[in-house]
């Protein structure tokens, strides 16, 4: 009984402590990301990148004369948590906008709350075509599968690789499904034959059974709709099978980690991106150098998008000239040709970005830029 009272008191005390606001002269931005759980490595990248952007802005005098502070909350990749975090953020009057989440299911789950209370949710990585249109306050900057699927089909499979047939292996989550759907739809529209589609569950590490079955259908190429972790393993298993097939994948695989985890098994893999480590642009190189220093590893597309998200948000706040949430939203929607490190960003009517890509190939263990459509 006494124990219980003590424990309850402690819990209440801690809860109250953690909700104490901070000083009046900071602008606070919320960040919802998977810091723990199955997607923790991706959430960490968000944290580093956003903090980098914040530090940079603060070093140059901050925003509207105030310093910015980012409030990080762990969504664990769980849609329920993302919704709870959304509630917490919108409740806090000092938070002006939110960046996040990593997965589309989290973004979609939190969207009704941000929309109801009128706070911007800017997702660096949600590529679900239903996300941005789901509300006026929803924005995504990574581009959607509506653009990526056809690009993968036309410019990579047909144009660059000259394939007539392709098989699809995809991860059984919402992103995987949407990616696969858009790719297959574009393939049908462009006369590219899809020999078979097979999915695998998250957390699955053995693809040999699926790959053996796919190999039996004799495709010229295999489209791997997965994150770089799984993609690297899939490629390794393809190599171990002694199967000489063309490898292609969406931009989710593009990162230095793919090269590290895949080794020479990913040699020749073709993908698309709008952020490359060997981009000659000096701002990109500065970003990469600083990220390396802080995180001890190379940034990937997600990190670059998170960085740009913060920068774009800051730009919108500057243009709005106020910390009013609705004004920030309007200024954000009007963003045109914002020079991000991931390219020039303009929001469509629904709050999406139509991306143009570069074609990247793994050559001699490095990423090489083969075609560049981003400057078109």
């Amino acid at each position: 009984m006494r124990h219980m009272v003590k424990v309850l008191a402690l819990v209440l005390f801690v809860t109250l402590l953690s909700s104490v606001g901070s000083a009046e002269d900071t602008i606070r931005v919320g960040l919802s990301a998977p810091i723990t759980g199955n997607y923790a490595e991706f959430g960490e990248n968000f944290k580093y990148a956003v903090q980098m952007a914040v530090d940079e802005i603060n070093a140059q005098g901050g925003l509207l004369g105030k310093q910015i502070e980012v409030v990080v909350m762990d969504s664990k990749g769980d849609p329920k948590e993302a919704a709870t975090i959304a509630q917490k953020f919108v409740q806090d009057k000092s938070i002006v906008a939110e960046i996040g989440d990593f997965t589309s299911t989290c973004c979609l789950a939190a969207a009704p709350i941000y929309e109801r209370y009128g706070m911007v949710q800017l997702s660096p990585t949600s590529s679900h075509p239903d996300f941005a249109p789901s509300g006026e306050y929803m924005f995504g900057i990574v581009g959607t599968q509506d653009a990526e699927g056809p690009f993968n089909v036309k410019y990579i499979a047909q144009d660059y690789l000259g394939l007539k047939s392709v098989a699809v292996i995809y991860i059984n989550n919402d992103w995987g499904h949407v990616t696969k759907d858009r790719f297959v739809k574009a393939a049908d529209e462009n006369g590219l034959k899809v020999t078979i589609e097979q999915s695998f569950l998250e957390g699955e590490r053995d693809y040999s059974a699926i790959l053996t079955k796919i190999r039996d259908t004799n495709p010229e190429g295999i489209y791997i709709a997965a994150m770089y972790n799984e993609a690297a393993l899939i490629c390794r298993q393809i190599k171990k099978m002694g199967w000489d097939v063309k490898l292609l994948a969406p931009s989710s695989v593009f990162s230095a980690k793919l090269l590290e985890l895949g080794g020479d098994a990913v040699e020749g893999l073709v993908t698309n991106t709008f952020f490359a480590l060997n981009d000659p642009d000096p701002r990109v190189q500065a970003f990469i150098a600083e990220f390396r220093k802080r995180a001890g590893r190379d940034p990937n597309l997600h990190a670059a998008c998170a960085y740009d998200s913060m920068m774009i948000l800051a730009d919108a706040i500057r243009r709005a000239g106020t910390t009013d949430r609705a004004a920030i939203r309007d200024a954000l929607a009007e963003t045109k040709d914002f020079p991000g490190i991931t390219g020039s960003i303009t929001f469509t009517e629904v709050g999406d970005v139509v991306r143009k890509y570069k074609v990247m190939v793994v050559e001699n263990g490095q990423w090489a830029i083969k075609r560049d459509y981003t400057r078109d």
Partner: protein
């Protein structure tokens, strides 16, 4: 604990008043949301406690029934526009039906074997939701579940949902209290203490165990319906094994076999991770530690009675020492 029992009327009334005026005292949507979550898990933990604590069966796949309730509500609401109030009992019934489907073949099994079946069932339900795309939209989930309506007025504010779940929780606990103290409840306790003896005294144990399972899972289904309408979105990744384990932890940490136990367990294990959000990376570490520490310091649970646990120990010593009665490792 004893103090509460002696002054139960005062403390219950006091708690009731606080609960009723909570949204007025705390005009903070986030805290209201936490309160709603706590109440929701109270219903879930209570429903599991009916099964685990009162008839001695061991269900560790409770997420399955929560999932069934939520999806039934989501599908019927988005496709056929059934109202929230109609769907509450329907979701409950669906979950009960699912549990009968599981229970009919498996209730004959002893302890740990039944537990494993429930675990398998939990995953089957989740994987079905994940793969039956034409029905459930698979991993994309079902968005756009409309707000519940009261006489045509949509409920969309947290404080409104709060009163709904408060009502549901009160109803659930009240009904459970009545059932547990009725003949049926006594039969359940008899089965829990010694199933063989109960049967030899004429209690139709199989029927009662099935009833117990159906009754407990009914409330899990109801909770699922509320969850669907509160979040406006359901997806399979909310119903993993971990979710079932969390509910189980709430029951055990709070105290199995008592009505107060799951209430306290739900409160403790929901508020704790929220309170520790500021040490984001260590949140789950602390959660795991909390479970371990509670089991060591107070194994009967925070609200469990010491006599109950001692009775367990006695029963264990007389009973066969091992739950797994097989031929051993070398057979």
């Amino acid at each position: 604990m004893a103090w509460f029992k002696k002054h139960w009327f005062v403390s219950t009334t006091f708690a009731a008043i606080i609960l009723l005026v909570f949204p007025l005292l705390v005009d903070n949507d986030y805290y209201q949301r936490v309160a709603i979550t706590v109440l929701l898990y109270m219903v879930l933990a209570t429903s599991l406690n009916i099964i685990n604590g009162y008839s001695g069966q061991f269900n560790i796949g409770h997420a399955a029934f929560y999932c069934v309730g939520a999806y039934v509500a989501a599908i019927l609401a988005t496709r056929y526009h059934l109202s929230f109030w109609v769907l509450l009992p329907i979701s409950g019934a669906a979950a009960s039906l699912a549990s009968c489907f599981l229970g009919l073949p498996t209730l004959r099994l002893k302890g740990i074997f039944l537990a494993m079946c429930t675990l398998g069932f939990s995953e089957i339900v989740r994987l079905t939701a994940l793969n039956w795309i034409s029905l459930t939209r698979g991993p994309m989930g079902i968005p756009g579940i409309p707000f519940p309506e009261v006489f045509g007025v949509p409920l969309k504010y947290n404080w409104q949902f709060y009163y709904v779940i408060l009502g549901l929780a009160a109803l659930a606990i009240f009904v459970c209290h009545r059932v547990v103290h009725s003949r049926i409840g006594r039969a359940w306790i008899a089965i829990r203490e010694d199933e063989l003896a109960a049967r030899s005294m004429g209690v139709p144990t199989f029927l009662y165990k099935l009833l117990n399972l159906a009754f407990g899972t009914f409330w899990a289904g109801v909770a699922g319906c509320f969850y669907a309408f509160f979040s406006s979105y359901v997806s399979p990744d909310s119903f993993t094994l971990d979710e079932g384990f969390s509910i189980l932890a709430m029951v055990l940490v709070g105290g199995q076999g008592t009505l107060l136990g799951p209430i306290i367990g739900a409160f403790f294990l929901t508020v704790l991770p929220e309170a520790f959000r500021f040490v984001a990376e260590y949140r789950l570490v602390i959660f795991g530690l909390a479970i371990l520490v509670t089991m060591h310091v107070r194994p009967q649970g925070i609200a469990g009675s010491t006599t109950l646990s001692m009775r367990y120990r006695e029963a264990q010593k007389d009973d066969v020492a091992s739950d797994i009665e097989t031929g051993g490792i070398a057979s």
